[in-house]
């Protein structure tokens, strides 16, 4: 168990039976978990209060927009392209065996727009931006820069967290669209140019495979992914332990927690959005 787990037993450690120790360890971990969730909820609440009361200056926001959006664009585009091509490689054999090569586009594009595009963009953002946010804020915590902000009458959540949160939630839809687009281009290139599938048939089936609701649901989910990346990463940075090891741990845990939460939220939102879709369109037809 974690060394930092809270002790819930009043019996001294030397006198604990294995069962008591086991209950103590796991109970402590549960208590620590509940405390961390509560702490993160308060952290989020403070941030949301600043969002409605006073937004940060334009200069602070723009620099974060640049770092989160502009600098992430190339890597998201590149990975999106490769994912599109990998999907083509992986699916081709099965589709070719049953003579449905031309329907490859429907599968590639549907998978990208509904799932892989948003999740891929969020994963890249969590890795490239989330880890960096936790490391930067963690270093600021360790070197007393966050204390300095407070001492000078600036609120660190207002100054450091709100701009990063805004950048993540407002720019992740653009990154998702880029991942979707480049994945579609990559899939088309590999299927039509490399595998020799008929261009017109590929495009026709591609149009059938993606509905407007699919596109909407992917972008809708990305807002939540962006929010969770910013909150988890900033929270981990603010609660960084001292030393180089503490900063490294903050960056790693920021990515791991963000990634796990992205997948959990993805599952939950997919179920909810599917229910809404089949309520609105019982026959499964698109609104476009």
């Amino acid at each position: 168990m974690s060394e930092s787990a809270a002790s819930i037993s009043s019996i001294p450690p030397d006198e604990q039976t294995p069962l008591v120790r086991w209950v103590n360890d796991w109970g402590g971990a549960v208590v620590d978990g509940i405390v961390a969730i509560g702490d993160m909820a308060i952290f989020t609440w403070h941030m949301l209060r600043w969002m409605v009361s006073r937004l940060p200056s334009r200069g602070t926001v723009l620099i974060n927009f640049y770092q989160v959006g502009a600098l992430s664009l190339p890597v998201v585009a590149l990975t999106g392209t490769f994912i599109g091509m990998v999907l083509a490689v992986q699916s081709y054999a099965q589709f070719h065996a049953i003579g449905l090569d031309s329907r490859l586009g429907a599968v590639i594009n549907g998978t990208l727009v509904k799932e892989l595009g948003p999740v891929l963009a969020a994963t890249m953002l969590a890795g490239r931006v989330g880890g960096a946010m936790a490391a930067v804020l963690g270093t600021m915590r360790v070197t007393e820069q966050i204390d300095a902000l407070t001492a000078m009458g600036a609120d660190p959540i207002h100054y450091l967290v709100v701009p990063r949160f805004l950048a993540c939630i407002l720019l992740i839809p653009a990154l998702t669209i880029m991942a979707d687009f480049m994945g579609i281009v990559g899939g088309y290139f590999y299927s039509v140019v490399i595998l020799g599938i008929d261009h017109a048939a590929y495009l026709n089936h591609s149009r059938e495979g993606v509905t407007g609701f699919d596109l909407f649901s992917g972008i809708f989910k990305s807002f939540f992914f962006g929010g969770i990346i910013a909150i988890v990463s900033c929270y981990r940075g603010f609660h960084c332990e001292p030393g180089a090891d503490g900063v490294g741990k903050a960056a790693t845990t920021a990515f791991v927690y963000s990634f796990v939460l992205i997948l959990a939220i993805d599952l939950f939102l997919t179920i909810v959005l599917n229910s809404i879709y089949y309520t609105l369109y019982p026959n499964g037809t698109s609104f476009l």
């Binding site: 600021m140 070197t143 007393e144 204390d147 001492a151 009458g153």
Partner: protein, 283 residues
Amino acid sequence: MSLAGETIEDDAEISDLDQPLIEARNVSVQFDSQNILSNINVTIQRGQTVAVIGESGCGKTVFMKTLIGLICPTAGHILLDGFDLNAMDQEQITLARRRFGFVFQNAALFDSMSIFDNVAFPLRQIKKISDQEISERVFQHLAEVGLPKNVTRKRPAELSGGMRKRVGLARALILNPEVLVYDEPTTGLDPIMSDVINELILETRRRYPVTSVVVTHDMRTARKVADRVLMFYPRTRLLDEETQILFDGSPSDLENSEDRRVRQFVRGEAGERLNELAQQADF
């Protein structure tokens, strides 16, 4: 207004001036199960320069951060001009903090900003100041701490330790604070640069009507800049009936203290400390 009325106002001003600027009343700070500060009572008058000395881990920095509201005491109160910091709302505590200037141990300059932006940062938090005035005040305060104009474009990582400390001092002074708090101002500096910082602390006191709190374990700094010295001792090594402040007096009385531990610290003698540490390690 009648003459009598003026007298009453004057009396009120005198009584305000008599009131301690900062008062710690029964302050205790605990992290998890560890008592860092226990039942601390200190009053600091306007204009005083107080050195807080003590060995590493005795709670000096925690005390200083508690004074400016960066750490909330587990028990007790910090009063600023008679007003309890704990009872203030966010806006009031922000205004209260602007009455302090804080020089951090490693300067705590913002890595992502130039030196100019670092020093200008507190001014930019106050919206009503023009860019022209900000520039003038930044250059004035950098000149006061002996830094040339050409450092303003540099980043903190490009400066030496002594220069960073001086930038930290310029940043702390830029809002003309009533209280200047220095955390280990000379730690990690060569003897000459340490003395430059000591001279700057004295020069600042001559130039501005500030109250200063200097946390240090450099006895040369304490003797040179302070007119009152408080010596803290780690709570864990005290008897229950002992207070954590072993010495409260003028620097000249330090050598003659009746407490062996104070004399030992002032002379920098290990004494029985090495044996105690060895016993703790064996335990």
